[in-house]
Symmetry: C2
């Protein structure tokens, strides 16, 4: 029970922290940043909506809305898929890649700071391993590969 409550509180506090920084410095929400990151790591810098949904743990409509925003910002383009007319790819554009690059440095540093001052490297590994067993935490698009946030 303690673990669940602390997961809730810790997530809320940390997300507020990261969100404020990211928004103030780069005009991005956490979800937008994460989406850009997943796209950047993806093969051909493109992902189906459904895969983004799984990777980000959002509903399909949440992804539609997120991509609308990133589209308006000029960070992402929609592209239809020949071979399956149902899917609409999200493709990372240069502007998106650039914004991601700008944001990544400070964002990653902030994350490292928060965790670094609370855990040893061993503990951080333990924590990551334990959290990785939660549903959604290990979904497809390996969100840790690039090690960028």
């Amino acid at each position: 029970m303690a673990a669940w409550v602390r997961l809730l509180r810790g997530h809320a506090a940390l997300r507020r922290l990261m969100s404020a920084r990211l928004q103030a410095d780069h005009g991005l929400t956490v979800s937008e940043y994460e989406a850009l990151l997943l796209l950047d790591e993806a093969d051909g810098a493109r992902l189906r909506g459904v895969d983004l949904a799984a990777g980000l743990v959002l509903t399909p409509s949440g992804v539609t809305r997120l991509l609308d925003r990133l589209g308006k910002l000029g960070f992402v383009r929609r592209e239809s898929c020949q071979g399956d007319a149902r899917v609409s790819y999200a493709v990372l554009l240069d502007a998106g890649r650039q914004r991601l690059a700008q944001a990544a440095c400070g964002h990653v540093a902030a994350i490292r700071a928060v965790f670094g001052e609370r855990y040893t490297d061993t503990e951080l590994g333990q924590l990551a391993e334990l959290l990785g067993r939660l549903p959604g935490a290990s979904t497809g698009a390996s969100a840790c590969a690039g090690d960028a946030g």
Copy 2:
């Protein structure tokens, strides 16, 4: 980095799960449940708004809105504080306590199930301890004392 991303994903997935159950079975959001729980554990079943904000990791306005909802449901009453006219207490009413009691059993069982099938008792203790070091995760109103969720 992995820890942060997995915290995000794990939280999203777990919260969606718990939220769906709680909403379907008892018409409560996770925040509403947690608020009732904190009130129930509090001295005199009452808490200042600012303390709820700290305990739940919400903003003051978030708490105002949360208490508006709980008020309309008849679960909570507002009460002014003699001695400090700024504060407005939230007081748990019987209906609120009853709803909490109804919800607690299934909710706690669901949480135990999700965690129990993924971690040993030792690991669960580790996880809780590690998460407890995060900001917000250890705030005031000891959210683990009652061990109810």
